[in-house]
Amino acid sequence: MEETGKRRLSVAGIVVAGIAYFLVSAFPLQKELVLAPGWMRSLAQAPAGPIAQLATAKKGGAGPAQSAPIPFRLGNRYGYFTAEGSILFAGTASYGVALAPDAFATYDRLSEGFTVFSPDGTATSRVSFVGYPFFAAGRRFAISPDQATVAELSKSGAIAWTYQFGSIVTAFDASPSIAVFGLMDGRIVGLDPSGSVLLDFAPGGSRIAGVYGVAASPDGLLVAAITGLDRQRLVVMEKRSSAYRVAYHRYLSSDYRRPVYIAFTPDGNRLAYESPSGVGVYDRSSRGETAISVPATSRLGLTTMNGKLMVLLSGNGDEKRLVCAARPDRRVVDLVLKAQLAFVETRGDSIYLGIDDDIVRMDLRER
């Protein structure tokens, strides 16, 4: 109880510090941006499962209409909340969970199938597949125990297609039009929604081939990857007519021998990737790069707020850092958070920050 109290006090302190930061130290942009406090909710008080929430709703106790559920994951806890501050539920996965705004599925270590639920707890499909599910870009996939065969699942739970790779899948990202897989052998394979190959490329140029991270832009026209060792490369490919061609590449100073976070912002205008000095940012329109210097390494979240701010959560261990930047070289928020587990999400002008057992909403305002 005392620990929880301290954590909640810490979270409240962070919110106050963030507001004070904006009021006192924020860079004036064209209009001044401030973060206004929204709400803070504790997961400890949330229903443990969606069934409870569904039962409440059926009894007419769900209260006023709520906006679309927002998924969250903090360690092995997962669930949904709404912009209004309702934690629909906070479940605990015994082994793993695939999570998307419209569906979730928990699975066991020796999963031979799984049930897909909607956020309100309604079972929508049963999937017979030996392996683990994962959801992205409104699509549902599963991967086999040897980590070399992937399948796309229809909304009804049928297996739409399977693809057996000749080596281990080490990286993944998807958009509605392309699913991109990075392989241990250094190949990047992009498959369309029917499972046909759109892209099959081995960047080369390094002593050891490998793919450490891939990203697909939301429109599917750009595919980026961190590849190879000695030297490691950033490769950005662009779809021109029907083929993907290298639009940009650069040798990096990094020597990562583990998966690396690389992702496009939700608006698709920028690509951010982990680098030893912080976060590298590739700008789609200028085809140039800048960097956000953050001392922590692993990136935990990247998003944008209505195209105004790039929001970045990074960190290791029990120290996380939230950075909001109008441009890569102009950060307007830089907060250190004491938290083992964290996530960041944005919807419109709101930031949702998960910190261990709490979820906090802050709203971006112009004045």
Binding site: G96, A98, R109, L110, S111, E112, F129, V130, G131, Y132, P133, F134, A136, I143, S144, P145, D146, Q147, A148, T149, T162, Y163, Q164, F165, G166, S167, I168, V169, T170, A171, F172, D173, M184, D185, G195, V197, I208, A209, G210, Y212, G213, V214, L229, R257, R258, P259, V260, Y261, S298, R299, L300
Partner: protein, 294 residues
Amino acid sequence: MERQGGSIGLALAAFALLGGNAFALDWPLAPPRIAATFGTFAKGRVITGAALSADDGIVRAAEDGEVSFSLDEGMNPSGLPTPLGSFIVLEHQKGMAAVYSHLAPDSRPTTGLVKVNGGDMLGKSGSSGWIEGPGLVFQVFDRRADSWVNPLLVLPPLVIDKPPVIRSLALSRADRVYTLGETASLPQGTYRVSVDVADLGDATWTMGPLAPYSIRLAIDGDEAVNLVFDVAKGVGGRLMFFSGNPIPAGDLKTKEGRYFLTERLFPRGRTSIEVHVEDAAGNKRSASWSVLVE
């Protein structure tokens, strides 16, 4: 004597693969107790390595190498699940990369491991990810050929004296299956020939009936098929087994669980069929049948 002969065959294959360095690698887990061999059908996959059973065993580098990839169970930031659990990829000599998977979480000695010597500890055997029992799945990937290699070709010979088992041989067409031994005669026609074979390991658990190292079929004294479980390669979205006459993994076995060998016209008359099976330790088993085709 038979085992030695088999080992020589394996050594020659390894010699060809490694350009003169037969048995270049050491067992990453000792003693090696085989829970799955290359080509073993297990749930959801056909094994492209060797599974070794061990509870809390020390996993060691099979040779000097360089870490090219490592991952702790469930830690891929892309959200991709990790059925291989905690695993390490080491680059060994001559373009050979080895995957050591299903390690016990947090059992790696250091997270910054880059260069390792043969015999260095990589972690402990475990049951992270999708694996039926505690142990290690060890895979060898030939980067030059872009294919998986049967690890038993490049590891010291196994010492197991149990020969493989030939349970039955079947000829099938349309919806009729003739199991030889139970059937003395059958009508003339084209048949699919399949054999039910299993190798015997010495592990406390297995992923499924172990695949042998080779299956040879002779009809009327002529070699019809010689399946050697040597390599597997991804081609066009399918995993293909065997260096000669590659077969999709999904077609290796019939729906009854027998290894598919060939499809062949059996003309009228008496036909003799022989099957010779060899396991990874060089143990051999043969069986023959005589059938009257009417």
